[in-house]
């Protein structure tokens, strides 16, 4: 490295090659500390945007009493700010859901994989269209399930996508039957 003359003049005691490596070392050390520091600073800057502690706490499990839901009725409850559809399916609904040719569906899933064993009449799904997040309307569309007003996706009585731009079936929330007429979501 060529040094500017004014620096060379003051260079009395140090050998220039030793100075050379010392400066290189300082450059690299400074750069390394700077890079690590910048990367470390990014962590809180990015992480602060994730759900905060209170939002996560508010996502605790909820209990829902199924007894008041009439045959054929679909209700909407909220869990983790997401709408959850609870559909009390009629005999006809169940039959339609079970007799479909599963292999021909856009997102193939048998009805049995979407309900809890022995509880065929209860379908519990997250009521968010898997296209871009609108809330589909119940008892509408050609498949007696849901119709999404935003871009026209249609779901059947098992909440499976049948037609339209949505790629997936309505998602299933984690839930379990606490008793025959009560479920816990979450």
């Amino acid at each position: 490295m060529n040094k500017p003359p004014e620096e060379r003049a003051s260079d009395v005691t140090t050998v220039s090659s030793a100075e050379h490596t010392r400066r290189d070392f300082l450059y690299i050390a400074t750069g390394a500390v700077g890079a690590v520091g910048a990367a470390a600073a990014l962590v809180p800057l990015i992480a602060q945007m994730n759900p905060d502690a209170s939002t996560i706490a508010a996502g605790a499990p909820i209990d829902v009493d199924l007894a008041p839901i009439a045959d054929g009725q679909i209700i909407k409850v909220f869990w983790r700010s997401k709408p959850i559809f609870i559909s009390h399916r009629t005999k006809k609904d169940i039959e339609e859901a079970q007799t479909v040719n599963v292999a021909a569906l856009p997102d193939p899933e048998p009805d049995s994989a979407r309900v809890k064993p022995g509880h065929d009449q209860w379908l519990v799904v997250i009521g968010i269209c898997t296209h871009l997040g609108c809330i589909p309307l119940p008892h509408q569309g050609e498949y007696d399930g849901w119709f999404c007003p935003c871009h026209g996706s249609q779901y059947d009585t098992s909440g499976r996508i049948r037609r339209g731009p949505a790629p997936k079936n309505l998602a299933l929330p984690p839930y379990k039957f606490v008793s025959d007429t009560k479920i816990q979501i979450g």
Partner: protein, 408 residues
């Protein structure tokens, strides 16, 4: 910046300042003696109009922010408070809401002008790309501003647009949760949108400075698309361009005022006067008019991921325009075929906008598909090939010859 400064301030104070910070000279060389092509038409006044509209949005925005509350329970109420209680609040809000529309109207004219006259071609590629960046920032700013009102359209626009990221394979849902700061669009989302809506206009202002800097390095294009060759081809910015810009700006502001005072809600959507309800999606959701063409492209494609990619590509493709257009002739004046494809392109863009406002069914979907294909074909097929096959008309020898005839 070209045009050597002849700036000699009269006043002692200005001379004193000029020795320490030559800002007067900078303004003088950029906006007074700066040479502009003598044949600029009114389409060249939209740059000034855009700068004016950015100023209007910042001034009205800052005062709106003095009365607005970014909280899910209070946001809608505070906007209604601005409309009913704040002194002249109705005017300030209507200026801001319609100001966004006028801003976009102006940017669309500005961009189509650039395409028609080939203003993105060498040496103006960087200038053009800076413009595309400004346009992207405007889209982000306008979207987040619309969410602040926290009406039904605000809420569901936020939901649908943020969900576009859920199409990314693998990490999509993680990204969306991160954007929301929750498990759905909610208070954290509103707060961060407010923070960014306040910030981005100033980022835009910064990029505008770069845009104008790049402009003053390469100079303005003009309706002939040929570069000025002598002094005769240009005139001084002041008084010529200043007067023309000022006159048309005034005309534009009259149009703006007509919207603000006579049809302030014409460009908005009635559903946004219903407070946000996370439990019910409106039966027909549409974005603001200036996003409609892209919305139509999204909906034209029956697959989620490809739809989102097409939406993104339809905007990003603009940045590659300087290299997609292979013709060496800039101005459409001398490109008879390009001119026809250009006007078809304008019709397709407006048509896509109209289709974006229609429900996605039947004939509308089919038309949207045809138009989407033309939109992309214009960039990827027509422009590259035209440069090879088109027989262009002879160019004039100089700008002054094209204006004054061969005698000049």
């Amino acid at each position: 910046m070209s045009g050597h400064s002849t700036y000699q301030p009269q006043s002692k104070v200005l001379q004193w300042l000029e020795k320490r910070l030559p800002i007067g000279g900078l303004v003088h060389s950029s906006f007074v003696v700066y040479p502009v092509p003598r044949n600029l038409n009114y389409l060249w006044t939209f740059g000034g109009i855009l700068a004016f509209m950015l100023g209007v949005q910042i001034v009205t925005g800052i005062v709106l922010a003095m009365h607005y509350t970014p909280h899910v329970d209070l946001a809608f109420r505070s906007v209604e408070g601005i409309m009913r209680d704040v002194n002249y609040g109705w005017l300030l809000r209507y200026l801001h809401a319609n100001g966004a529309s006028m801003f976009f109207l102006a940017v669309y004219v500005h961009m189509f002008r650039g395409i028609y006259y080939g203003s993105y071609k060498e040496p103006r590629e960087v200038l053009w790309i800076l413009g595309v960046i400004i346009y992207l920032l405007m889209m982000a700013t306008g979207f987040m501003g619309y969410v602040l009102v926290w009406g039904q359209m605000s809420f569901w626009a936020a939901t649908v647009i943020t969900n576009l990221f859920s199409a990314i394979p693998g990490v999509g849902d993680t990204i969306v949760t991160w954007l929301w700061g929750g498990y759905a669009v909610g208070n954290p989302t509103l707060n961060r949108f407010y923070s960014l809506h306040y910030l981005l206009p100033f980022v835009i202002a910064g990029v505008v400075v770069l845009h104008i800097w790049a402009l003053h390095v390469v100079g303005q294009n003009n309706p002939t698309g040929i570069e000025p060759k002598s002094e005769k081809d240009t005139v001084a910015f002041t008084p010529y361009a200043t007067a023309k810009d000022g006159f048309f700006l005034a005309a534009f502001v009259i149009l703006y005022a007509w919207f603000v005072f006579y049809i302030p809600n014409f460009l908005g959507h009635a559903d946004n006067y219903i407070p946000a309800n996370p439990a019910v999606t409106p039966t027909h959701i549409v974005p603001e008019w200036y996003y409609l063409p892209f919305y139509a492209i999204l909906r034209a494609i029956p697959d989620k991921l490809i739809g989102v990619i097409a939406l993104g590509a339809s905007i990003v493709i603009l940045a590659f325009l300087p290299w997609l257009d292979t013709s060496r002739v800039r101005s459409a004046r001398y490109r008879p075929l390009f001119r026809q494809f250009f006007w078809l392109f304008v019709i397709v863009c407006v048509g896509l906008g109209w289709l974006g406002s229609k429900p996605p069914e039947g004939i509308y979907v089919i038309l949207a598909r045809v138009f989407t294909i033309y939109y992309f074909a214009f960039f990827l097929v027509i422009l590259p090939l035209l440069g090879i096959f088109e027989k262009t008309k002879p160019l004039p020898n100089s700008i002054s010859e094209s204006v004054l005839g061969a005698k000049a």
